[in-house]
Symmetry: C2
Subunit: 209 residues, 2 copies
């Protein structure tokens, strides 16, 4: 049995998180790894209901503080109901986004005070920390093009403007710079197979290193 | 034009909040008062979606911290989108529950730390305070009987046991004792007309005093 751990894949929309996550999962499953694949906001039945509110384009009146508290509420449930129990069972948890996204989007992009965000994150995660957060780094203009080419409707967060997304990107890079033991940045403008190869290397180090 | 103000009606389930609120509203409307009648959790389209999650019996897995953050998220939206703008317009806001309920239920009944609750309330309400909170005080056993006789399905919070409700009641009484300028306790075991008469007197003092 592996030691339980948590790997987060994060970054701007269109950076390839879903594809990279799927490849990481296939790689680990092929080695018989006991996986829990999850996402934020969401990951639990209650969290998914909160996700619906956060991403609904009906909710354009949402205040920044409301948004922050909803992310924190979903995360509190996610950590207690799903992540910690899985790790205790020795499972490997892979999450599409986690607390790093709140710091990037709600502080660097929305401008809410960093202290407030860190405090709410701390209450939500109660001392827990992912083993590694992989940031897929991409120019938001390229990311938006990729999201647009999917042809699906944009959600409330994806409708934000380019400056907002550039500030969020800056937030990811700064977090990675400040905590190199828990963050790895991968250049997501590379060919997809190179991005995946880099990500798999990072994951192997965490799970088997 | 009256000066805008906010009156909260709070207390355990079955204490008569809805009936008393309706009577207060009729009394003020008869005098040409410009009213906004609202409730917590809820009061805005986003808040009502959050209310659905909070009260749904599907959500029995909800952690205490998640619950607290959802109440705070709904309140943050309520204050910014509805309450403050109404008060600025000189309207009288009457709310079925507000921050006092979170202190009673999440601290005194659930046992979450008071500091944490006060901090989240403070972030949610951003320095705002209702002019008066009327507590309808009733023995929870009597309250439960009244709720039961309505014949409607109990929501997630109403399904809590008697000890939980007794602790919440204690919380209301302690808050009122600690802040007599902002709280009034009315004995809700009296005949309804007496409860209403007392409440109307308090409201007149706030609106016209």
């Amino acid at each position: 049995m592996n030691k339980g751990c948590m790997i987060v894949c994060d970054g701007g929309n269109g950076a390839g998180k879903s594809t990279v996550l799927k490849s990481i999962a296939q790689h680990l499953q092929a080695q018989g790894c006991d996986l829990v694949i999850t996402r934020e906001p969401g990951g639990t039945p209650i969290g998914e209901k909160i996700r619906d509110i956060l991403l609904s384009t009906d909710c354009s009146e949402m205040c920044d503080v409301t948004e922050l508290m909803l992310f924190a509420a979903a995360r509190a449930q996610h950590v207690r109901e799903k992540i910690i129990p899985a790790i205790k069972l020795g499972q490997v948890v892979i999450s599409d986004r986690f607390d790093s996204a709140t710091v990037s989007f709600q502080h660097f992009a929305r401008g809410l005070p960093l202290d407030l965000i860190k405090m709410l994150n701390e209450i939500a995660i109660d001392g827990f920390k992912p083993n590694i957060t992989i940031i897929l780094d991409l120019d938001p203009a390229t990311g938006l093009e990729r999201v647009g080419s999917r042809g699906s409707q944009l959600d409330r967060m994806e409708k934000e403007n380019l400056e907002f997304l550039r500030n969020a990107r800056k937030g990811y890079l700064e977090q990675a710079k400040d905590d190199p033991d828990h963050f790895v940045v991968i250049d997501a403008s590379q060919p997809l197979e190179d991005v995946i190869a880099e990500a798999v290397k990072v994951v192997d180090q965490v799970v088997y290193g």
